[in-house]
């Protein structure tokens, strides 16, 4: 082991430790605020009660987390499956760009959450409206980032490839796509967190399962500890999905500047 890589091996230097310490401090402040200002439990529950609820209701929470996660993932996959090809078309053709892109940007000014009830009208209760709502929120960031990625290839690099008599497919495969990957991944990371929001919104307006449904039910019954526990589970879903994507990114683009830290030590 080189002396340079030594410090990162100590557990107290680990990257996850600092946010954890901060989180503990925040929870402590929350607890202190309730005691100092005498906030009644029907407005804000004490952290202890939330933790107890998390412990006792864990199987139920997990059961409700499942449909939300599934809807999020489907929405996210649809965002990627449609967003990346749409971005390719927009970046590849001036004509497509001039027709599609302004409308796409304009469509973002519509509050998508307002459309979610419409999905219930069209597709009823169940998985589909949730997935569509997650897709609706997750789609746009993928397109915007991927377009930017595809378009930022240096013209000299394209000239170089063309001078080698590379065809369009080869240029795409060897130059444009790998070049766009870092941007695509940053879009996907935004997309997956928004897809969680989309799924929950879908559950708010028309569902009888999932974390969104649980949130609504518990607030209706003034079960605030349950509601807060549901929020914690929701945050966990978001964090775990984001982290998974981060791992995939590290594997897919180890050469990129944002990933080089470990790479140099490994080399």
């Amino acid at each position: 082991m080189s002396p340079l890589s030594q410090p990162s091996q100590h557990w107290f230097q680990a990257a996850w430790l600092r946010p954890l310490i901060f989180l503990v401090l925040l929870v402590a402040a929350w607890d202190a605020a309730i005691r100092v200002f005498h906030i009644p439990p029907y407005q804000v529950p004490a952290p202890k009660d939330v933790i107890i609820t998390l412990w006792q209701e864990w199987p139920m929470l997990l059961q409700e987390a499942w449909p939300t996660t599934v809807a999020t993932l489907w929405g996210f996959f649809l965002s990627a499956a449609f967003g990346i090809p749409v971005a390719m078309l927009i970046a590849g053709s001036r004509t497509v760009e001039s027709y599609v892109y302004p409308l796409l940007v304009f469509s973002q000014s519509i509050p998508k959450i307002a459309i979610a009830p419409l999905f219930v009208v069209w597709f009823g209760f169940g998985m589909l409206p949730k997935v569509l709502s997650a897709f609706l929120l997750g789609f746009f960031p993928v397109v915007v980032s991927a377009v930017q990625g595809f378009k930022s290839v240096e013209p000299d690099m394209l000239d170089l490839a063309r001078a080698m008599e590379a065809n369009r497919l080869q240029i795409f495969r060897m130059v444009s796509l790998p070049h766009a990957l870092p941007a695509i991944f940053s879009g996907l990371k935004v997309s997956i967190t928004l897809a969680v929001v989309g799924a929950v919104v879908g559950e708010f307006v028309g569902s009888n399962s999932g974390i969104g449904y649980l949130l609504q039910r518990s607030i209706g019954n003034f079960e605030l500890p349950t509601m807060f526990a549901a929020l914690v589970v929701l945050a966990l879903i978001g964090v775990i999905l984001f982290w998974l994507l981060d791992v995939i990114e590290r594997l897919a683009i180890p050469w990129h500047a944002s990933q080089r830290q470990d790479f140099i030590i490994a080399a």
């Binding site: 000299d156 000239d159 063309r162 001078a163 080698m164 990129h256 080089r260 080399a267």
Partner: protein
Amino acid sequence: MAQATETRRPVIEIKGVSKTYRTRDGEVPSLRPLDFTISDGEFVVVVGPSGCGKTTLLKMIAGLLPPSEGEIRVEGKAITKPHGGVGIVFQTAMLLPWRSVFRNVMMPVEVKGLPRKDYEKRATALLKMVGLEGFENKYPWQLSGGMQQRASICRALVHDPKIVLMDEPFGALDAMTRERMNVELQRIQRETKKTVLLITHSIPEAVFLADRVLVMSERPGTIAAVYDVPLKRPRSLDVLADPVFVELTQKIRKHFNATTTGA
């Protein structure tokens, strides 16, 4: 002039080539009609002020841009589209950051679908020739600017093109690295016997490297003068103090001063 070279087989023939860009503000002339020929194995350097259309000329020879008028022939064939008979080196190395040095050098071979086995040997030999032995599996960002540029020269040579086009290849390097790279490029050209067209705005670099220097005028550019460089090869950096070298660089420099004050 250039009696010795003109008897050799012409590789690049430029006949009445001009280029005018059509922009929103109307037509912008970039190159006035040009005529010149480059022979097999010749090292020609184009020197001129920025924006005189040097890069346009290079891209037209590579087939990346069509000339507005006139005809470009490479090895007797009229050029209308990219033809693969050239290797190109740009000012920045333009290596793909996700490919190792070796795979960057092999890119033209992959694109053209040439037999990989044969060319792998060639790529290894080229990297050795430019002193990048042992760096094959490094990534471009792990190399210095000079090393990256040497790797890009290998990439331009790997598919064994007749012609190497270089657009200010050492413009982004520091002065000392640049001088070393000039010596090295001269050696590479002598070893590979390629026809080289190099663009620069450094007059000493032009005289040091060239068999023949084409001096271009301000935009819209055309050839203002042609100078043969009678210095013997191989040239070392000592040539920089040679009276012939000094006189020639002075002559070329005066030419620029004359055109700028005249304009």
